[in-house]
Symmetry: C2
Subunit: 211 residues, 2 copies
């Protein structure tokens, strides 16, 4: 039973990428795929792809190729909660809107159920089909809406207090766009996604390459 | 001379984060900082902070704290090209706009000089103060505008062709938001930033933690 084993974050990331690639194949009408084809698109070795697929508990044969639809179903069972998970987004700026619009219909198992913003012009409104609340309501609404995942799109100085309020309401996962290391209790998972930091890495290495 | 040594991507990422944190301190009127203070905010050890600061070539004394303004200047010299670098953005959707608006005045050494979009409604216009070109012009404009860094905000199936066109024009760094592994020639640096993948990681571990 793969769900009971300890799985590394990197494995989950790769499996998520395979699903995107497999969905693309399925949309193109392709029914079978070999590990080496997935490995090229995913940028990992074919052996890695086969190991990851074993982790999923998928029993298809690598010799004759994997069935695309069956493999997608195995990944769905591995990644998705049967009843789905509720998501909240704190900070409805440009980035927050980009993230919110990403959800529209695309991820049935991840439901965006609440937005929060410090701006009273935004809270009280419905944005991208989702109600926006004032930030003081975070703990209360995270609890009442059974939010397990929070996307933090707030500025760095506000991030820790917002994270604390989310965790107090019962959130167990945070996707953090703020350039700051959050302190959270054990059992809460934080993934940092710092666009400025990534861009500066690219700029640095582009400069070194360019001479 | 730190610029001549091989520096790991992780080091560059941390140094970029220190600059954000130091700028926050400077705005708050704080003039001196100890490594342990930076380490708490950055989520790394104080020894790591001190090693990174040595990599910068900064000669301040860790015993008496670092001078915030001097340390920022050292990081500027380390991270930024003296004459700045030109950036282009391909794909002007919600995410692209979020990235473009991030640039507005905030990063004087990284100049957003061109946008590209496949939609003829967008190309030809000026968006967030920057001209948008049709995607067929990528190689030509990347070359003429001396773009070294490209931000890819296009869908996965289009990403490789767009990356090829950018590299052909002389781009040497790519920040890739598309969920696909790009193939690029040696000397071109790619940093992947896959929001969906990060979110699925959070969802997975939030579920495991939540039971």
């Amino acid at each position: 039973m793969p769900g009971s084993a300890v799985v590394a974050a990197e494995t989950v990331g790769r499996v998520s990428l395979y699903r995107v690639l497999l969905s693309g194949l399925q949309q193109a009408g392709i029914k079978g795929v070999f590990s080496h084809q997935l490995s090229t698109s995913a940028g990992v070795s074919a052996a890695q792809v086969r190991r990851d697929i074993i982790t999923l508990g998928y029993s298809g044969s690598p010799q004759h190729g994997y069935d695309v639809a069956e493999l997608i179903e195995s990944i769905d069972n591995f990644l998705d909660a049967p009843d789905g998970q509720n998501v909240a987004l704190v900070g409805v700026g440009n980035l927050g809107r980009a993230v919110a619009s990403y959800f529209a219909g695309r991820r049935p198992k991840l439901r965006l159920v609440a937005l929060f913003d410090i701006d009273p012009e935004k809270s009280g409104r419905v944005i991208c089909g989702v109600r926006c609340y004032p930030q003081e309501k975070i703990t209360e609404v995270v609890r009442s809406e059974r939010v397990s995942i929070v996307i933090l799109g707030v500025p760095a100085p506000a991030a820790q207090a917002v994270a604390d309020a989310c965790v107090a309401g019962g959130a167990r996962g945070i996707l953090n766009f703020a350039p700051v290391a959050l302190r959270v209790p054990p059992g809460v998972y934080v993934e940092n996604l710092d666009m400025a930091r990534s861009l500066e890495k690219v700029a640095y290495f582009a400069r070194k390459a360019g001479g």
